[in-house]
């Protein structure tokens, strides 16, 4: 390997637009203008820049949690030892409900009202098969036997704790409804929780109470009201669920943002210092990067947790602009273009955050390229310190056999790995210690996982019509319990539609209920019972409270609870909340309503399952798009089809190798990893284009430049890896693996593939000093 002169950078052409020529011609003016602009931006940025959590930024808006319905968890203070924790929490929940009367909604139907509704209307609400069984239990002999058995069981000391409710159901008519697919969950909360008299959820051990609010006020203002209501009671109130995750993600961005940027810059500085061995050159690049950050903050004034990771990666990948040692084309624009368009395929994706970054990344790259290609040469022209690459290059030759072998290994490994990769959806973000509060753990352990809850809407001309439609939909949904659904929480299950009511009335007439109940009353009397003690049952069975119509529910005691489900507007809509089965391998349930239409489900779990089903296909589409764009840009820069195809092939080989490495390291793949995969693909395109071009033109290859470029990317990855936050750590690891692979693929595979393609096409060597036509 003989040291050779560097490739021309094109600035020697007087007619060409060259940033570096402008920089060397008017260095003072360029630096002055840049400093003024940086100062103005720095002054403006502090007032404009806002941070967000972005915990649901990868979810389509219709599948995100309801932002105005936060969950509030009440727990006991560590030093509190109340005589009755459940009573204290219930009292605290009551004072909160009183203070936030317009904002607090019952998360479940209040236990007393729910029980009363079911007792009054059970015979209308059970299905036909259950009604047949009930009819069989209302014969004279069956009633006598049931009452005798009840009396026999009452002598057992365990009778009172057996779960029987003789006052509500002395004949055991409704006892089997709980086994009827969990359709009637009036008295059981999700998980092991129970429903309080006010409609909140109480943990099984009575030491935590979950409240639902519906509010558009800022979290801090609501929490201040909650604390004022609680007063000096030894109770702690904390947001849990999606709002807690979002707040944690935002706190993470606020706390770790500057630290992460500083870490990335320090790592990049270390790489540059070791590679360039010039203090002034390293500092100049760093200064350019820092000012780029200021400009970026002006151009993109909102930053969330995903955006912060992208910014860190941008710092590493932007160094490419400062180290354009080997150019794909004479003017050096293809590399910048490939990098700027790296995330463009994500414009096709269903992830809002990545759709945003598909173009925002190009803006960031443009922001970084200008200082690094205009200001950096100007600084060097003014204060010196430019690195001389004379003698650092060496001639490199293609290795067709080795390249073909390595490429084959990468492709096969990637194809095999794709099927074994674990998918991680966008509905959960790994925030590490930030997301793992004690209250959040209690929510997941004692109540439910909000990420597993999805919702559906039933529409109607008015609330009553919407509720009747919800009755139809809820019954259709309940058919899928327990195969696909765990629980259906819909007020529709509590009402009967008008046609069903008439049919049921006719069926109940045939049961001769008044006569049966009179016989039951007489039997109770004869066996020593007090019939009045069973008044709830006798009144309900006699249907003295009317039918369970939508109008009756809207105007009855359950009306306040319905606020949680009613969606204001025209047409009116009623929500149902559905808990999906925990098996994520099961796709999105396709449940059809009474009209045969598929009931649309929305929620993070649905988005995740839908995405999981098509993720592999779309990953291929994104990769193909990137390959096509990269190949086009390289072709436009080199006018060599073989180099363009080699660069595209290198992109694919790199991404396959990274996927294989991820499978080996058991790293999850999913939407969160897409930017990292595309960026390392772009890195491979660039390094492949450079090495192929150098060999094509028979010019020295600056392998050091390619490797330093990759090391800067690795430095950014290391900064993310060292953050300790799961969502960033995996991304950082993928970039480290990919950037390392990209430089190797560019050096060892791309030139060999290019040579193989030339042989296949019958073109052995490129035109000397000119463009090779593949």
């Amino acid at each position: 390997m003989v040291p050779r002169a560097p490739a021309p950078d094109g600035s020697d052409r007087p007619d060409a637009i060259s940033l570096s020529r402008w920089a060397t011609r008017w260095p003072t003016a360029v630096i002055g203008a840049w400093l003024v602009l940086a100062a103005v931006c720095a002054a403006l940025v502090s007032g404009r820049f806002v941070t967000r959590g972005g915990s649901e930024a990868l979810l389509p808006p219709e599948d995100r949690h309801l932002a105005d319905e936060p969950l509030l968890l009440l727990t006991l203070r560590d030093d509190a030892t109340p005589e009755d924790p459940a009573a204290l929490l219930a009292e605290s929940a009551a004072v909160i409900a009183e203070r936030l009367a317009q904002e607090r909604v019952p998360i479940a139907a209040p236990a007393g009202e729910a029980a009363a509704w079911f007792d009054a209307h059970a015979l209308f609400l059970v299905d036909d098969a259950a009604l047949g069984q009930i009819g069989g239990r209302l014969g004279d002999e069956a009633i006598s036997d049931a009452i005798e058995n009840l009396r026999a069981r009452m002598s057992s000391p365990l009778f009172g704790v057996s779960g029987e409710e003789p006052r509500r159901d002395p004949l055991g008519l409704l006892g089997h409804l709980d086994d009827d697919g969990g359709r009637f969950s009036s008295t059981h909360g999700p998980g092991t929780s129970t429903i309080t008299a006010a409609g909140d959820l109480l943990a099984a051990d009575g030491t935590a109470c979950l409240l639902q609010l519906r509010t558009t006020r800022p979290s801090d203002a609501v929490l201040a009201d909650v604390h004022a209501a609680i007063g000096d009671r030894p109770v702690v109130a904390a947001w849990v669920g999606p709002r807690h995750v979002e707040q944690s993600a935002r706190a993470l961005v606020d706390d770790a943002g500057l630290r992460l940027v500083a870490t990335a810059l320090a790592a990049i500085a270390a790489v540059l210092a070791a590679a360039l061995r010039r203090v002034r050159a390293t500092l100049a690049i760093l200064v350019c990067l820092v000012t780029s950050v200021v400009f970026a903050a002006i151009a993109l004034p909102e930053l969330d947790a995903w955006g912060l990771a992208i910014v860190i990666l941008w710092l590493g990948f932007a160094c490419e602009g400062a180290l354009h040692l080997q150019r794909i084309s004479a003017r050096g624009w293809p590399a910048a273009t490939v990098l700027a368009t790296a995330m463009a395929p994500l414009w096709l994706s269903p992830y809002p955050a990545w759709q945003h970054w598909s173009w925002a990344w190009a803006v960031l790259v443009a922001i970084a390229i200008v200082p690094l290609r205009l200001v950096l040469p100007a600084i060097h022209a003014r204060i010196g310190g430019a690195v001389s690459w004379e003698g650092r290059g060496f001639s490199w030759r293609a290795l067709p056999v080795l390249a073909s072998l390595l490429a084959l290994v990468c492709l096969v490994a990637g194809v095999v790995a794709v099927s074994s990769l674990r998918y991680r959806g966008a509905e959960r973000v790994g925030l590490g210690e930030y997301g793992a509060s004690a209250a959040q753990r209690r929510l997941l352990d004692d109540f439910f996982d909000p990420a597993s809850i999805v919702r559906t809407h039933s529409e109607g001309a008015d609330p009553a019509a919407a509720l009747e439609r919800a009755a139809l939909d809820a019954r259709a949904l309940s058919e899928s319990i327990p195969a696909e659904l765990v629980r259906v929480d819909s007020p529709g299950l509590w009402v009967a539609r008008a046609p069903e009511l008439e049919r049921r009335r006719a069926a109940l007439l045939a049961l001769e209920l008044p006569a049966r109940l009179e016989h039951m009353r007489a039997t109770l009397e004869a066996k020593g019972f007090r019939p009045d003690a069973f008044g709830e049952f006798l009144r309900g069975a006699a249907m003295q409270d009317g039918a369970p119509t939508a109008d009756a529910m809207l105007s009855g005691a359950l009306g306040p609870w319905l606020r949680r489900y009613l969606v204001p507007g025209k047409p009116a809509a009623v929500r149902a909340f559905v808990q999906l089965s925990p098996d994520a391998d099961v796709g999105v349930p396709r449940i059809r309503d009474a009209d045969g239409q598929v009931i649309a489900l929305h929620g993070p779990a649905v988005a995740s399952r839908r995405d999981r089903a098509s993720f592999a296909d779309w990953l291929g589409i994104y990769a193909l798009c990137q390959m096509w764009i990269g190949a086009l840009v390289v072709w436009l820069g080199t006018r060599s089809l073989t180099i363009a195809i080699s660069a595209a092939f290198s992109t694919l080989a790199t991404q396959c190798a990274v996927l294989a490495a991820m499978a080996l390291l058991r790293l999850p793949v999913g939407p969160a990893m897409l930017p990292a995969l595309l960026l390392v693909g772009a890195s491979a395109t660039i390094s492949a284009g450079r090495s192929c071009r150098a060999i094509d033109l028979d010019r020295p290859l600056f392998a050091t430049g390619i490797i330093v470029t990759s090391l800067c990317q690795v430095a950014a990855g290391v900064a993310l890896l060292g953050s300790g936050v799961a969502m960033w750590r995996t991304m950082g690891l993928v970039v480290i693996l990919g950037a390392t692979t990209a430089s190797g693929v560019g050096l060892f595979i791309a030139p060999g593939i290019c040579r193989v393609l030339r042989r296949v096409a019958g073109v052995d060597t490129p035109a000397p000093g000119g463009e090779a036509r593949g």
């Binding site: 026999a152 002598s155 000391p157 099984a204 019972f529």
Partner: protein, 231 residues
Amino acid sequence: MIHRRTWLVAAIGTLAWPRRGGADDIEDKRLENRLELWANFAKRTRNLLVRLTTTRETSLLREPLVVTGTLVFGPSAAGSPRLVLRDDGLGGSTTILDERGMRIVPNRADAPATIVDGDRVPGAAWLGARLRAAFAPGEGEALVADSRTVVPRGGHRLDLLPLRDSAARKLVRSVSLHFDAVTGAIVEILIAEVQGDRVRLQLADHRQNVPDADIAAAMAEVDALAAGRRE
């Protein structure tokens, strides 16, 4: 003034401290005595046959329900300890607590049995564990496990209450055990339920460690009663 007040508070605190510690000591001593009295009888129990009178006071009935029967404690056919409370006559029921769980089996042959699921109803699990531990041999650890204890000054009584953070409190208020002052045998169990019912189990004619054949026969009778019973 502030200086004097501080001293006064400190002095009161100093006086109160040993009294509080002393109260705890006395309570512990009483509990120790009760458990010692109970263990005096229980630790010798290999099996037990007792006459039983159950009284349930409930608002569902015009008069309290009074049923007589037999309490049997001993090994089941499988060899594990089993507690059986069997009412006399077809109008009553048999309560079985063993390794298979808890069941209430009406004595009428055609009546369905009720399975009491301790996993689903924490109150049932707690009460069942207390009843079994009350007749099983031991030093008392199992008897007072997962419970708060109250030892009234008069009589020979031990009250067991579910822990404050226990879900069992939703159903059971307390279980009071009355001991024979001489032998330590349990002569009465009073169960106070949260919904207001009170169940009194009065025990008499304790026959401890009867021949195994008698227990085996009683257990076989229970097995025959429960066999094939629909739930």
